[in-house]
Symmetry: D2
């Protein structure tokens, strides 16, 4: 009989639902070494938890996440709650000996992320953080092309993750606009993805940053209608970066970039070619190579297909397209295989903690108007 892993899911908003879909679909898409079982779900109160458990296909429900992390039946705690809860939930789960699958960014601060990392490593539990865009087969292909040297030595990295989910100034405060619940703003919320992407793709660490942040919409309506409140973190940010092997680059991130819905994009240039990618066209990678007759060189649009990593499990037919949630299905496969020791978990808490460190450094660089080294 197939091994099982009982999952305890905390939080059923945007991400909680995405995780639930992926947990149910993953075993049908991939042949997994263990079956994830949607066992227990926690929400802010018992009634909500019960109704969400029924919707999302979980066997049991609780209004208290501490009950969930303590439940002996649970093997993996899956944290889909707002950022400020990640640390306490993860520490409790680790203390209870559970593996932890957490959403990004790992924590509000580097210090918090470090506490989580140290605790997990000491406890010997496995961890994975939900930077799902690196699971997209198109991006996996980009990394493989870079790693194989097909575009030569890397020369430049340009990345952005811009969206416009808070472009409307009438949108009220939510947990994302407050420092004590979110940490940094666009930089942590979506910028964390492109920072993680930068290191994932290039295989190099970011060693120095020079950052620049802005809060354009300085006040937003309070959700309770009691007036306006200060926005406490950045609406947009940009940074120049240097990497461990001399590569230079830059990133941009925004939550007020009118018109951008899923604006994670990158251009990686090498001495013998270049890659261009835009997550709004997530099934395409543009590849340019110095090769063949000059009059036949151009950016090729590679449509992802079964010859690329992780696509064939979804469809034998090339170019038929994966969606956002399919990235989470791959992430769940990685989680399961990682817990079973068949694959390295990446990014685990240690790597995700680096992202927190980069965010903090960019913020500090902004305040001090200078370049900041990352240790």
């Amino acid at each position: 009989m197939q091994q099982t892993l009982n999952i305890g899911l905390i939080g059923t908003g945007y991400m909680g639902k995405a995780h639930a879909i992926a947990l149910h679909a993953a075993p049908r898409v991939f042949t997994l070494p263990a079956l994830p079982v949607c066992d227990l779900l926690a929400e802010t109160d018992a009634a909500l938890a019960a109704s969400r458990a029924s919707e999302l296909g979980f066997a049991r429900a609780t209004g208290d996440w501490r009950e969930l992390v303590a439940d002996p039946a649970i093997d993996v705690v899956d944290i889909c709650a707002p950022n400020f809860l990640h640390e306490s939930m993860a520490l409790a789960a680790i203390a209870a000996g559970k593996h932890v699958y957490s959403e990004k960014p790992l924590a509000l601060t580097t210090a918090s992320a470090e506490r989580m990392t140290v605790a997990a490593e000491r406890a010997g539990v496995k961890t994975l953080v939900g930077f799902n865009y690196i699971r997209n087969p198109a991006t996996q292909l980009a990394r493989e092309i870079i790693a194989s040297g097909e575009i030569g030595e890397l020369v430049h990295f340009r990345g952005r993750h811009n969206e416009d989910y808070l472009a409307d100034p009438e949108l009220p405060h939510n947990w994302r606009t407050r420092r004590d619940t979110a940490g940094s703003g666009a930089l942590g919320d979506v910028g964390s993805h492109i920072l993680n992407m930068a290191e994932y793709l290039t295989g190099q660490s970011i060693t120095t940053v020079c950052g620049d942040l802005q809060t354009l919409i300085r006040q937003r309506p309070l959700p309770d209608g009691s007036g306006m409140g200060e926005v406490e973190n950045d609406d947009q940010a940009q940074a120049m970066l240097h990497f461990s092997q001399g590569l230079m680059g830059n990133i941009e991130t925004s939550r007020i970039a009118s018109g951008r819905k899923m604006g994670l994009a990158y251009c990686v240039t090498g001495t013998h070619g270049a890659l261009v990618f835009d997550q709004e066209r997530m099934n395409e990678l543009q590849l340019y190579r110095h090769e063949g007759p000059k009059g036949r060189r151009g950016f090729s649009t590679l449509l992802i297909g079964p010859e690329h990593t992780d696509y064939a499990a979804f469809s034998p037919a090339p170019g038929h397209g994966l969606g956002y949630n399919d990235q989470k299905i791959i992430e769940v496969r990685d989680l399961i295989e990682g817990i079973l020791g068949q694959r390295e978990l990446y990014p685990d808490f240690r790597q995700a903690c680096r992202i927190n460190r980069l965010i903090d450094a960019i913020e500090r660089s902004h305040r001090e108007r200078c370049w900041i080294g990352i240790d």
Copy 2:
């Protein structure tokens, strides 16, 4: 307690797996009026059936599809076997009082499709045929825009469904290249999608066709290595079409269109605008409207988001992207709601039978070198 519908799946190739994924994921994505239960699976032999049932999450397995259709526990028979088996399987299922969810094209010939339609209607069972591309929210949006008159009266329809899955002449015969197993070639296999799309989008029936077919790769290796065998159906086809309200248009279809992987595409032109769509970029619809100052008119790239039909259930965030399998998830939702009487099933056997009629007419038009009316 939630109502359930027991599903019996026949065939676990490309489509069988896609259906299985969708059956498992649909209840997590949508709130369904009944829970589809992956109960029984049939394959060509018992061992294969058993292993696939375990992979695809079905409770029981059988090496004989007749057993499946006869099984009293089964509510819906889901036919994912090659075309030539659709009729016998559907007739048996209908005879046993089951609802039928069948892959496309419905049958090898119009006569066969008519027998299936008549049987289903007499038996009063519900039917749905898997022309999944019409479930894509981008295409649902196209239909809504057309129906609302936003682009005016329709003036022209151009459609194609071109792929290159048989462009390589070394690829051996399979069931798709033989008349007794597939019926027509590219025209039935992928062309059926664009014919169905034409009527779905325009809300008009095709009334006259003028067709043109070609088999370019006339012989292919026999799969048993015993030499070469004649290819018995078309590699590519094109047709001009007239519709019930005077609209004119054309379609193209191919299985040897080098470079096209998922080349279903359409351009619908109206008196006040136009729509352009390409399934290789399945999350985008291009909309042009005669409106506003002349210098600001252009094709807009609408990224599908939660404000469009059926997207929000997958993600609250716009532009994050659906994939091929997500279309099947929507199809399963439609199936369940349709069986429960909450929605009209489209295309049912009657409409799918029209597609067979169109295919036959295009073939006849090709042979007779003339326009053919559709009754």
Copy 3:
């Protein structure tokens, strides 16, 4: 001293100005074997002719084109008048021993085009017809790629030339909407370009056609405000085509295709690749080839540059872009070199007469609802 060719230009509307710009610029772009001299210009009356001559840089002007064709100083008669005047102007020019550079379509009917062709050939004068889109380096590249066999044997041709210049039903009659001044409608006006393109690109002759025409806007305001008048030719047309070496294909053409401004586009598919082109992005050719590892195949966007035919004379820098008028500059170069015997003139009256024959056949096919062979 450099040889000169005195040009007599008739008509100074859209095309007349484009020719004038090209005649002045061509000797600066290319090293020509003879200098075209903008000598004499004819318009409908002397005053208009004089003012246009000053604007367009012509030395002399006349209100009577018969004077121009008879003028002994003139070497080349350049006809930019409406279609119905092409024959009389060309015949007079030929009778006077002039070379003729005429705008397309050559004539209102095949019979007229034949008279012109026979006259020119008997007189031994050189002729060139202004199907300028085939001069675009991107399209010249497409032809070279096809001719060299890089995409294998041709399998399918799809072409269209759709614009929306008459989509607005309030636009009054002009010479383009009347049979006695234009001949056919969209089919002759823009469709002629794509028919010429089809033969130019493939190197094959169209041998059989099956056509379909429509006039959607059946009445338009008379230009004198006296009410409405019948539109006498097609607003849109489509046709299926067979070519001399077995190739099949289709074309579409329209003057009411909302949103399309310069919608000449083609897709040529071969056994080993494909080409996709859209004149709205006239400096790009998309090339797909079955070559190299499967996971690296995709349509490449070739930006035209100095390594491609006829670009380097405009710029040493790749991808910097040519415009519409630059095509006319290349056409003028071809004209001059052709007259000087250094290049074959293509399409000359004989080839342009074929286009008239194709137009007539498509119209007849439409009336008779059958396929028509071209002799």
Copy 4:
């Protein structure tokens, strides 16, 4: 009789030819207040000058540019020589009371550019610098849209001008790779365009910069074959920018960006919309606006046409496309009208001097690893 302006052109490389084409074509495209006369041409020696004068349609030639600037017949000195010659040529021309049309960047250093600016202003001659990309109607449209407030208050500017003309390390030194002939590298050569564009588009001045430069290919073959020589300026650069009204942004520039041929591109985001432009598709502007129903918002591809500034003179038909050289034709029109006092000349030496100041500040910021204010 029409007024004339005698032009003296110095240098007939890439730019010299482009200017010559434009000088000949401009009076045919536009109705100019004065006719530019291609009178005198200077090159490095008399023979070369004579042959180029014949090719480029100039009446007279000289092997000594000092003769040209001193020639009393000359009204305008047009400098298309390498950067290091701009100052001496311009100062001599100004001293002789000529108007000066100079290629960019204005000078090797800010100090040099200031001397030129002061001299020109004192002498009261008119000046124009060839930052031609701002003449592109698509970019003029972008500026108009921004100025009109259609996209709201500006929030972010992203620009790049990346090409790969020196990506190949085998390419030898030329005047562009040496400090004494070029000044800065990619930053001055192409980066100057995007810096000028940033201020042109936004209508704001850049007030603070933080720069970062790299020379990747540190040695190149000496052109005389005598070995390798040090590359003396940057291969690529990036900078973060702040503007006078609080806008933030960044730019990138490169001469080794594999695959980019004409990679000037920008994205300007405002509170109510955004603009995206790529000079490789120079006839398209992408416009997004927060307007109308949410489900109909998206980036519109505006194809430039006669309703946009400066297009109609080239063609009455929308979307037919301008090319690189057409930008120079518009620039020549601006020059003539500016000299005749009918239009402000922009960028004149004063504004072009700003660009030199920005380049210097970015270089200094790079050396000092800090933000630098621009006075």
